[in-house]
Structure formats: structure tokens, C-alpha cells
Symmetry: C2
Subunit: 174 residues, 2 copies
DNA sequence: GTACTTAGTTCGGCCGAACGAAATATTTGC
DNA sequence: GCAAATATTTCGTTCGGCCGAACTAAGTAC
């Protein structure tokens, strides 16, 4: 039934059947459902992410900068320029905007007075965290439907997919 | 160990411990690992998504339009304006760009000559599909590490998370 | 201490996406 | 068939992010 096609209607999604084994019927069907669920989830993740950013009034380059600061701690403007791929002049504007929105602060570099360290403003970030904590409670509640063993399986799966996506993203960019 | 804090170092991530139960030690620990894995995976998903878009030379509004066309089939410019939230004049430019990149075609509306139907150019999309099919093979290979029952659990989990993310995104936007 | 390098900002300009208003083409209502 | 309504495009403008070049300030080499 799901494989039937009318003559006038053409395929709208990739032919993923080609990527699954044919010898194990149930597994093949499960993989297809997994692809579908993964695709839906990816879309929802992207939309959720952009909704959060839009709510904070952030554009992609600003998100990226905040992400870098969260990962690596305070960075100089030069570091930000290198990691974001922006020109130095653009970083000045970027940090100006983030500072105006109070997401970051410029502080003096302890030893080199030419440099400017950009650090996250934790008080501001706290509001964002409050939202995520509330959301985490919803997630935890939704996880009631899963045993701890099942969640372990999910974690393992997510880690594998994270690897695959990073690999594919790098291949696309490089 | 993981709960220790030095005096000078402040918390960099939300206090998710508050969202997990305290009575079941293993479950609490598993939920925290799940949050961490989910967070990593979300980031990877967003980066993968933007890598694909960048590779195709697409900006967010163009992606959104293509997504709508894929979901609903051919749409008029008015439909696109309503769904994307853009002004009619902006849709003209949007479709111009997508048409120049050969992702879509303008076709006459069968009955109403005022209207313009915008439809996906499947030949162009086929290239994109070829990439996703190859990628699906990698995913299928990576799934060898999971039993079919485990994959069923993962599917169920993804569906629940998709719901939660959509709900949260709607709450943020509305 | 003078010349050179490095870090960051300021300035002016550019480009692309989005907009509102006016123009055009077509359909609908009477 | 003529007026009002509808769909889209054209036009001119605005706005924002990014850039290169020039500039300032601070460290480094000799």
C-alpha cells in the first residue's frame, strides 16, 4: 500500500528504500520508520532552535559567538574573528550588539592591554537557563514512558547520530 | 565528582539536576546523560542542517519555502506569502531567486490566469536526494549496532521529543 | 627610544533581503 | 460590459550586517 504510486504523482522524498536491507522485512520497515521519525525530529529541532534564537533577538552569527563563548570561555575579538570567519571590523559590530543586548561584556585582558576579552554575562544567561530548566522538567516527565535501560539505548543512539551528522556536515563544508 | 565546583568557576550550563528525580540514583544519572546527549545532538543537527543549506546556497526564507512546497505540493505566491509571513513583493523576489537557482518553476494556474503556481523542480532536487540516499546508507550501517527492538524504542523516543519540541517552539513563538 | 608588529575600533560604502505603494492583469458580481 | 475585487509584479526605498582601509593604542625587537 505505502509503495503504490499513481501515474501522475511523482516521488517527493528520497528513495530511502535503496538504503535498507531487503532480506529482513521487519528491520527494513523499521529503518524506514526511523528515517521518517529522524527527519521529522530534525525539522522540529531546527524550528525549536530558531524559535529560541528569535525570542532572544539573536541572528545566526550572534548565536554562534555565544556558543563559542560557552564552549571555550572568554575569548578575544581576534579569537572570535577566527572562529566565526568574520572580519575584525565585523566582530566589533557583533560584540557591540551582543553587549547592547547584555549577553556579553568586554573586559580588559589581564596582561595585554591591546586585547579585549569577551565574556558571557551570566546574569543575562540565567533567564535563558530558567527556561531550559523548565523545559528539562517537561522532558523528564515525558521520559516516564521509557525505562532506564531504554533511555540508555537512546543515549547511545543519539551519540552515534551526533557523530554521523558532524562527519557529514564537515564533508559538506570542507 | 561531577557535582564539585571550584570557587572561581561558575556554572556554565543550566542546573538540570533540579529537573530529575532524586530517589532513583541511576535514573537521575541517566537523565542527565540524556540531556547532555540531546543537547549535543541538537547542536549537531542544526549545524548539519545549515551546512546542507549553505551548500545549496539557500537562505532561511528560501529553505522554508522549499519545505512548504515539499509538504503541500505546488502553491501560489499568495499561499507562500501567508505561510512564510512575507509581503507579496518579497515573495516575488524569493521565487525569482529560487527560480534562478532552478529549485522551482513558475507555472500557469490551470483555471485562474492571475495566479502563479510555484512548483518544485524535481530534476534539481534529485541531486539533493542522491546525497540523502547516500547518507541514509551510512545511517543504516551505523544502525547495525542496534537491534530492531532498540530502534523501535528510539523511534518512539524521537516521536515524543518531536512533539515536545514543537510544543515548546509554539509556546516561544506565540 | 625608535621602528615594527599586533589588537581593536572607526568610517564610509556595499549588497541583499524585505517593505509599501503603485501599476498591471485577470476574475467576479451585478 | 463595467465596476470592484483579487493576484502578482515593478519600483523605489530602507535597513542591517559585513567588509576594506585608515587610524589609535599597546606590546616587541633591536
Amino acid at each position: 500500500m505505502s509503495g503504490s504510486e499513481t501515474g501522475s504523482e511523482r516521488r517527493l522524498v528520497p528513495n530511502l528504500e535503496a538504503a535498507v536491507p531487503t532480506d529482513d522485512k521487519r528491520r527494513a520497515e523499521t529503518l524506514l520508520r526511523l528515517f521518517a521519525a529522524g527527519r521529522e525530529n530534525s525539522g522540529a529541532t531546527v524550528m525549536f532552535h530558531s524559535a529560541v534564537s528569535a525570542r532572544q533577538g539573536l541572528i545566526p552569527s550572534e548565536e554562534k559567538a555565544l556558543d563559542l563563548l560557552e564552549r571555550h570561555g572568554p575569548l578575544t575579538a581576534k579569537d572570535l574573528a577566527e572562529h566565526t570567519g568574520l572580519a575584525p571590523a565585523s566582530v566589533t559590530g557583533l560584540v557591540d550588539r551582543l553587549e547592547a543586548k547584555e549577553f556579553v561584556r568586554r573586559v580588559k585582558h589581564p596582561t595585554d592591554k591591546r586585547r579585549v576579552l569577551v565574556e558571557l554575562n551570566r546574569e543575562k544567561i540565567a533567564h535563558l537557563f530558567a527556561f531550559f530548566e523548565e523545559w528539562a522538567r517537561d522532558i523528564a516527565a515525558a521520559c516516564e514512558a521509557f525505562s532506564t535501560d531504554e533511555l540508555d539505548t537512546v543515549i547511545r543512539f543519539l551519540q552515534v547520530m551526533t557523530q554521523e551528522q558532524r562527519k557529514a556536515a564537515a564533508r559538506l563544508s570542507g
